[in-house]
């Protein structure tokens, strides 16, 4: 019906755009990371020819991630924050998604609308709201004093790791709940009925049917929030701003914005990307295996 070349031609501008403005920029990161440095001005001199790539500076940067070296602590801290924040997100998000998917009846559309609402409110608006609440004279401290929890409420906004983790949870949890909800909604209700008919208690049904069936959904949701969290630098900056709580993203940010050597920043960016690509590859591998196992 349509000429054969039509779809190719329609796809062309978009593909060209992505090559020119996504792939080529990424190639520039590689070029700068593996290029040289001007000996006088310390400016990076990118190498565009792969034959001229020098891996020594990348390896030097990579060595910094070994235990005891300069980036080890910041890498450990980032992993720790992300791991704790993702776990807290799951502990809150899973039951919420489960309730909305399985138990909410008339209120379900309303709950979904309210769960989607944070998507439409700017992330930094939510962070601003968060800092206002946790300010020294803010509502949270007022409540703590009213409840006689403490006379000297903590300083939340100056290098407090708890605030950073809570802010990460608050910022990213909506992005975890919705994919999780979609995954739980996909589970066939008749499987749960079958489990109940065969005498399983609600708890057993959950543990032996729902939970295993939602495993790939959980992993997917963890990837959805874990990847951007690893590259986050604005959340720690807004709620803490102290080097005590900086993450890898802050390190990259500092190397580029007024920092000493952008080429080290480029190497760090490259390392972060490879690390996250490895995590994603592992996730895709797990999902693939799960699909193969479930298919007869």
């Amino acid at each position: 019906m349509y000429p054969k070349w039509l779809w190719r031609v329609l796809a062309l501008p978009g593909i060209a755009w992505l090559i020119a403005l996504f792939l080529v920029p990424f190639y520039a990161v590689i070029g700068v990371a593996l290029g040289g440095v001007d000996p006088i001005f310390q400016n990076p001199v990118p190498a565009w020819n792969p034959l001229q790539w020098k891996f020594s500076s990348l390896l030097d940067t990579l060595e910094g991630f070994l235990p005891g070296h300069e980036y080890w602590r910041i890498f450990l801290r980032t992993t720790e924050y992300v791991a704790v924040a993702v776990s807290v997100c799951l502990l809150i998000g899973y039951p919420v998604a489960y309730y909305v998917s399985r138990h909410a009846r008339r209120s379900k559309p309303w709950l979904i609308a309210l769960l989607v609402l944070p998507f439409w409110i700017s992330y930094l608006m939510r962070m601003l709201a968060w800092t206002n609440l946790f300010a020294p004279a803010g509502l949270v401290n007022e409540l703590l004093e009213l409840a006689h929890v403490t006379r000297n409420p903590p300083d939340w906004l100056n290098g407090n790791p708890v605030s950073v983790i809570l802010a990460l949870v608050y910022g990213y949890i909506p992005y975890l709940i919705l994919p999780l909800l979609a995954a739980l909604d996909r589970i066939d209700q008749s499987l749960l009925d079958a489990a109940r008919d065969l005498g399983a208690s609600p708890l057993q049904t959950f543990l032996r049917v729902t939970l295993p069936l939602s495993k790939t959904g959980v992993l997917g949701a963890v990837v959805v929030i874990g990847l951007p969290m690893f590259g986050d630098y604005y959340t720690p900056n807004v709620v803490s701003g102290s080097p005590q709580t900086s993450m890898i993203g802050n390190l990259i940010d500092i190397f580029f914005h007024g920092g000493p050597q952008p080429s080290i920043g480029a190497s760090l960016t490259l390392i972060l990307t490879m690390f996250l690509a490895a995590l994603t590859a592992y996730y895709l591998f797990t999902v693939n295996r799960a699909h193969r196992e479930s298919a007869p």
């Binding site: 992505l18 700017s122 601003l128 900056n237 994603t280």
Partner: protein
């Protein structure tokens, strides 16, 4: 049996409590922040009476309307969103059409490429873009144009995902019917496919608007300085500085505009898909698309 039923309902009552507690707590800070944009006094933490307009345009020095830095941030955000919507939407619709119907190994490779911007942490995209402008595309400078190009690059994938979902769900039978009735390829594109795609196109426009308005990282990495600051960049700068409720008013304006865009798009979507309800197209689908992206 009966005991089990009550136990189950008690369990679900706890879950209900947790769920509603979470939902309210997640929105509470935003409600408080918007409330303080109506504070009559300068405090960010203590309520000093209600003033509808002071921080929006009433205050001759500090209000959003009269503070040049806040006003220019608002304009910059809206300008970028408009540019992003007008470039990313047509580009994405064409790409979605192409990628859905072009069968070749190259198409699957392009499909993979299209998904990459969505899974790349924004700081990586930001670094890459600022380096390519500095070293390779030297004719581009940090500024509005570069920011707009960056916004388009990472909102493109969302348009493709939304439009492709719609394309798959409408199938090809309408176009085939049109061809049987003698329509030329151009006519069936223009009079059959385009009207059927309109709901997805409106959904894309709205999502691109929301993504662009919300974006902080790309805008910051490609900013030319104070003149290119967007609303999120102003909020970021103000969050750690002494501020007036005008910043809350600025942020609140963004919330209002997004919610209005959302409402308009929802009504349009319902209007355009009227009569399709039975075929399983949920009107909320467009709204939840961003969150429910298939993984």
């Amino acid at each position: 049996m009966r005991r089990e039923a009550t136990r189950r309902s008690r369990g679900s009552r706890w879950l209900a409590l947790l769920t509603w507690g979470y939902v309210l707590l997640s929105l509470w800070p935003v409600v408080v922040a918007i409330q303080f944009s109506f504070n009559a006094g300068r405090s960010m933490t203590s309520w000093q009476g209600f003033s509808l307009t002071r921080w929006y345009f009433g205050d001759p020095v500090y209000s959003v309307w009269h503070d040049p830095t806040l006003q220019s941030a608002l304009m910059q955000s809206l300008k970028l969103a408009a540019l992003d919507m007008s470039i990313a939407t047509p580009l994405g619709v064409l790409l979605a059409l192409g990628l859905t119907r072009w069968r070749s190994p190259l198409a699957s490779a392009s499909n993979f490429l299209m998904l990459l911007p969505m899974v790349t942490p924004e700081i990586v995209t930001g670094v890459a873009f600022s380096l390519v402008i500095l070293h390779l595309f030297v004719f581009l400078h940090p500024g509005t144009l570069a920011q707009a190009l960056g916004h388009v690059t990472f909102s493109l994938s969302y348009v493709v995902v939304i439009v492709r979902g719609r394309l798959v769900s409408i199938g090809r039978q309408y176009e085939e019917a049109a061809a049987d009735l003698g329509a030329t390829p151009w006519q069936s594109l223009r009079y059959v496919l385009l009207p059927l795609l309109l709901p997805a196109i409106f959904a894309s426009l709205m999502i691109v608007f929301a993504i662009s308005i919300d974006d902080f990282v790309i805008s910051q990495w490609l900013s030319c300085g104070a003149g290119c600051d967007t609303v999120p960049i102003r909020i970021y700068g103000a969050a750690r500085a002494r501020q007036t409720p005008a910043v809350n008013a600025l942020a609140a304006l963004m919330v209002y505009s997004t919610l209005i865009a959302l409402g308009v798009a929802y009504l349009l979507f319902r209007f355009l898909t009227r009569g399709e309800r039975a075929s399983g197209t949920s009107p909320g689908a467009a709204v939840t698309t961003v969150g429910g992206l298939e993984w």
